[in-house]
Structure formats: C-alpha cells, structure tokens
Symmetry: C2
Subunit: 358 residues, 2 copies
DNA sequence: CGAGCCTCTGAAATCGTTTTCAGGATTATC
DNA sequence: GATAATCCTGAAAACGATTTCAGAGGCTCG
C-alpha cells in the first residue's frame, strides 16, 4: 500500500513530499510552512524566503485532498451542460471558464446528454467531490436534483432561461418573448400559413418556451396551429430535414416555418431545397441561437441571437459572489436580438392575404 | 468556523451529515457504514440493507476529500480538449464518459482553447486535485507538460493521433496516411491542379500531419504545391470561405481543394457556390472528420471518417488498466474510412464546356 | 457437550493539512 | 531596570473517511 507514492520509470517508487519534509529540511514547524503558503503576511520575511526556497527546491505541492478536507473549500466550479456538440454552449462555457480563472477558480465540465437522470448523477458526483458552485442549463430539472441543491446548499445557477423552477436563480433570455417577436415579424411580412419544428424533450424547457411563444403570437393574431403543424424532432440536422418533409407533405401551402433551433432550421432549409422549394421565395425559415453556421449557410438564416458569452460571464460572477457570501440577484434577464437575414421574406403573392392588424 | 455547514435560506445552518451520524442512527460503528459503501460483500446482507436505508434516508454522501486523503484515489479522470465547439470531440468525450462511468469513474472536462499555456494550467489544476488519469488531444504538447507528466507519474493518453512525442501513449488514426489516401483518390480521378486549406497552429499536429500527407502524395505523383497553393486558416467556416476565395484568385485553374477539416471544407463549398463555381463540376472539395453536417450539406461532402467513439472508449480502457497497474499497449492505431460522397468528381475537360453530371 | 473455526463487527490509528492556543523572545513604556 | 505589549513560532487538535487488528458470537465437528 504505497498509496501516495509515485512509480518512476525505473520501477522504484518515491514517496510524495509532504509539508513535514519541508519543515524538517527548513528547520521549522509544519505550521510555519503552512503559514508561508496561506498567509505569507504573518511570517517574518527572512524566514519566509528561506522556507520558500525549500518549498521550491523539494518541489512541494500541497495535497489538495487534505487541504480541502481541512478548509472546506475546493476552489472549483462545475458546469453541467446537455451536450458538448453545440457551439452555442461552448461559447458560454469558454466565457465562464475565463472569468472563473481570473478569480482563481477552476471549471469542471460534465455533460448530461439531455438526460435528467444523468444530470442528477453528475450533480452528485460534483457535490461529492466538494465543488463550490454549479452551473446548469435550462430551468427544468428533476425534483431530486432540486432537493439535493436545497439540502447541500451548494450555490447553483441555471442559464439560458429567464426563470427556473424550484427557486433556482437564473441568467438568460426570455425565450418565449423571443419567438413571439420572431413570429410577429413573420406575421408582419404577411405570412398566414405557419409550421413549427421544435425539439421537444421533457428536460428541455427552452424549446418548450419557444414553442409557447410561437403559439401565443399566432393565437393573438387569430391563427391556430393544428397538431400536425407542429413537428417534434430531436436536435439534429437530419431530424430537421425529416420534420420539414413531413410538415410540407401534410401542409403543402405552408409559407413560414419557425424552428426552435438553428440546427433544425438549417436541416429544414437543406430539405426544402432538395424538394425543389426556394428559400425564402417559396418558404421562409427561421432558427434560434445564431450559431456560427447560421450566417454562413445559403441563404443566411434569420434567427435570434443569444448573448452566450455574457451568460457565461454572468454565471461566473454570480457564483463567485454567492460563494463569498455576498448578496446576489434572484435572476438576470439579458437581451436577445432578432437577426434578420435572407431566409425570410414576404410570402408568394398567390398566398398573400390582406394584412391583419397586429 | 462553520466550514462544512450549510446556510439555508432562512439563515440557519445545519452541519453536513457524516458517516458517524449514519452509524449512530443505524446503531452500528462508522467502520461498518464504510464497509457497506466500499465492500458491500463482506457485510451481512440484512445489516447491509438496514445501513443502506439510513444512508439514503439521511441522504449521506461521503466527503470525497476525506476519502481521497485516506485512500489516495479520487476515482476521477480528466480530459483536456482544445475546444468544445467541435462535434467531433464531443462524440469521443461522450463515449469516454460512458465507458468510465461503467467503471465507477467520473469524467471532468477542461478546455485549452488550442493554447498550450492554457493546457498546462488545466493539467496542473487537474493533478493538484488528485485526478487519477488524463486524456489529451493531439501529440504536440509543451515540454513543461511532458516533464509534469513524468514527475507526477499520472497515467496520460493522447487521442486522435497515432503517435505522440515525449513517450506519451496515443490512440487514434494515422492522419498523414489518411490524407495521402484522399489525395491519391483525387489523383485517380484525374486531378492535377490542387489546392490545400489547412488550419495550422503550433499546437495542432493533426493538421500538420494531414498537410504532410497531401504534400507527400502529390510529390510522389510529381506534383509540387507552391506556397500560395497552401492556405493557412483558423478553424472556422468563415476562414474556410476566405481561404477558398484567396486560393482561387491566385490559382483560378484549380480543380481540387483538399481541406484538413470538414468545417473548412464546408466554408469553402459555400464560397465556391457564391463565386458561381459548381461543386463538384468545377471544383472538387474534400474535408476531414466526417461531422454530422458533412453528410447533410449540399452536395454531401467527401471526407475521412474518424472512429471518434472508439477513440473515446479506447482511451477509457487504457486509463482504467493503467491505473489498476495492468499492462497497457504503447499506442493503438485505429482505422479511418474514406467516405466518398458527391463533392468530388473528375476534373472538367480542359477547354470544353463541363459535361453535366447526373 | 466442549473446542475450534469462521464470520462479522467495533475500536482506534492514520492520511496531510490548517488553525487555535499558548508561550518565548523582542521591543516599547514608565 | 522591570513590566507590559507585541510579534512570531511551535505543539497539538481537528477535518471525515478507511482499514488493520482483535474480539464476540454462531457453527461445525469430534
């Protein structure tokens, strides 16, 4: 049981250097070495330098397990994202990481694969490892997770949404209002025959809210979406294609398709072209997220731009304050932006009806 | 000093539940509770169940710091990836995570943003926190990182490449051979005027190897690429577009463009179309990675498919074995696959109108 | 029916730090 | 020159789990 020893290339093993070793060499007590490391101010400069020399000479690094055990702080934040494959999350995470490392924290990332069970599991893992704060995505989380949060008291913030259940604070945008605005924009262009493609999953309240926004705006305009005009899909290009095909098969007269995600929208555009329909002349298609690809695709996609980096930074600031015991806001609402590009235009004349009052 | 206590919303604070609390409630000793958790086999089933009930009732979770301190094992693996925004890494990471959690390990992910300094920093963070093993991407890492690995003796494996410097074991594909094969494929179609778009960064030896493969194959065919026929770009769609425009401005006669990445290739295709050039009739374009988008784009992209999931699983298996002290291979070479889709075809006959495909 | 064996449980030592507490040395004050 | 005040430093007690070492029962077997 040479636990903390290190097998070197030659097979021998050399024990980890401890604070006590440094103390012995420097002819001081372990307490002093610890003080040099943690409160350099209170130790006589001359002695401090001497100890420092021995620390570097022996290349001593404190055992973080022991340190965490005693001090109760891990200086680590965890983030649980639904998937790593989406550029949109990546941007937030990078901003989060940058801001955290400025404050001496390290970020650990886990992914839940859009699975609440998995999310809970990762959360437990993180908490067990003594994480100081946690960043989540979206507002719908299992009851168990919420009670876990309450019981342990770990600071948690959820992102990309404007409010979350269970009293968890949130930083993000108003998804519903965003799609409502998008829908109103399309109504303003004169569209009346709509379709929607949404990636509905129990754990994805963002898409849920986005879909609600669409339906709300339409019903205010006196339009009701039939069940077959709302296609549920997984979050992938292929599903976007399939969804569009089905939608246009059932409702060939559709002139505007609102997707809850750029990925779905881009898939839909590809399929529309394959079906011989020009975008936007025959169908207008919109997305949500404004991923890099959205501007590069042909035609460039009309979509909603999310302040991903700000969300990440904001989450970092929130957690740092919360950990330090400073007062924190209940939630932060950030602005989104409707980005009009070329995937949308007025409906073909034949289909155009007298404009309705908004 | 209420370190391990938790301030609840009302301001009171309640201490963390410890193994001793469980023991008291269940009327057994802490030792027994520990055994129930770590070696369930050696405790009488009846008693074990009883203790288990109290554990869940009190929702006790062992303090990992204390556990790690005593046992010297953290049961945690770290992965440092260059960026989270790429689907291709995400796939490996997910496979890695799945395989690890089967064995009771948790995966922490850090990202280096293609920056060696950052990578080293994250590595130190991970090691200080007592990580049991580390997964890297690519074979080029700073000297400091390599000595850190040697000194600490943490098991490390690098991925996506067939061999790495500094004696670090690797699991991945032969990048050079893959692009060589791709180039030979294009030569076989009759192309002679080539261009290459590569995302060259000091820390990215994969692209380096891929570019080498292209040049090797061409020079074997007696073709030499001029410096202006090799465009260096960052890894983004926009850069792919810019690169293609520049390439075709300098060398309008180019009939085949080999990109070291699907993202670049897709950007290039978009730009080609914008320039009024049909792909593949006027120019053939190829990518590398076979991301989801590659098959969905129009025309579908000819590219190299990488066994991303297998790489992840393999890395997990390697580390688990290495940690357990079992013998491990020096490196693992996995097969890639040349996927021919519709973005490539024979070059247009020199002075004739291009024949119509399909 | 008693000795011996096996199985299971508990007491206590231990992991490497941090931090409180108290005391020794040094300086300031009268 | 003695006493008080001020610094620093060291000894020792945690922190929360794991694990060794023994010992208490319950069985089997002679």
């Amino acid at each position: 049981m040479d636990k903390k020893s290190i097998a070197d290339p030659k097979g021998r093993s050399r024990p980890r250097v401890k604070i006590e070793d440094v103390a012995r060499e420097a002819n001081v007590s372990p307490a002093t070495v610890s003080r040099v490391l943690n409160h350099p101010g209170i130790v006589r400069p001359e002695l401090r330098d001497k100890v420092m020399r021995f620390i570097t000479d022996l290349s001593y690094t404190p055992d973080s397990a022991a340190r965490a055990l005693k001090s109760g702080r891990m200086r680590t934040i965890g983030a649980i994202v639904p998937t790593l494959g989406l550029g949109i999350f990546a941007e937030s995470v990078e901003a989060l990481q940058n801001r955290l490392s400025e404050s001496g924290y390290t970020l650990f990332i886990a992914n839940s694969q859009y699975d609440q069970r998995r999310e809970l599991q990762e959360m437990q893992s993180l908490i067990e490892r003594g994480i100081d704060g946690i960043v989540l995505v979206g507002g719908s989380h299992g009851r168990e997770l919420r009670t876990l949060v309450e019981q342990t008291g770990v600071p948690v913030i959820t992102t990309y949404v404007s409010k979350a259940g269970g009293g968890i604070p949130a930083i993000g945008i108003d998804n519903e209002r965003a799609t409502r605005e998008m829908t109103e924009f399309l109504l303003g262009l004169g569209h009346v025959r709509f379709g929607a493609i949404a990636n509905i999953l129990p754990s994805n309240d963002r898409s849920r809210a986005r879909l609600d926004g669409i339906q709300r705006a339409l019903s205010e305009a006196g339009i009701r979406l039939q069940p077959t005009q709302v296609i549920r899909a997984d979050h992938s290009l292929a599903q976007g294609r399939k969804a569009l095909r089905q939608l246009l098969t059932d409702h060939p007269a559709t002139t505007a398709v609102i997707c809850t995600t750029d990925t779905l929208a881009i898939g839909a555009m590809t399929e529309a072209r394959k079906m011989g329909l020009s975008v936007p002349r025959a169908v207008s298609i919109t997305g949500f997220d404004d991923v890099e690809l959205a501007a590069q695709v042909d035609p460039p996609l009309t979509t909603i731009s999310i302040p991903a980096a700000e969300i990440g930074r904001g989450a970092a600031d929130y957690l740092i304050s919360a950990i330090a015991g400073r007062p924190v806001p209940k939630s932060v609402l950030l602005p989104y932006r409707l980005v009009v590009r070329s995937s949308t235009t007025s409906p073909p004349k034949a289909d155009r009806l007298p404009k309705r009052p908004r």
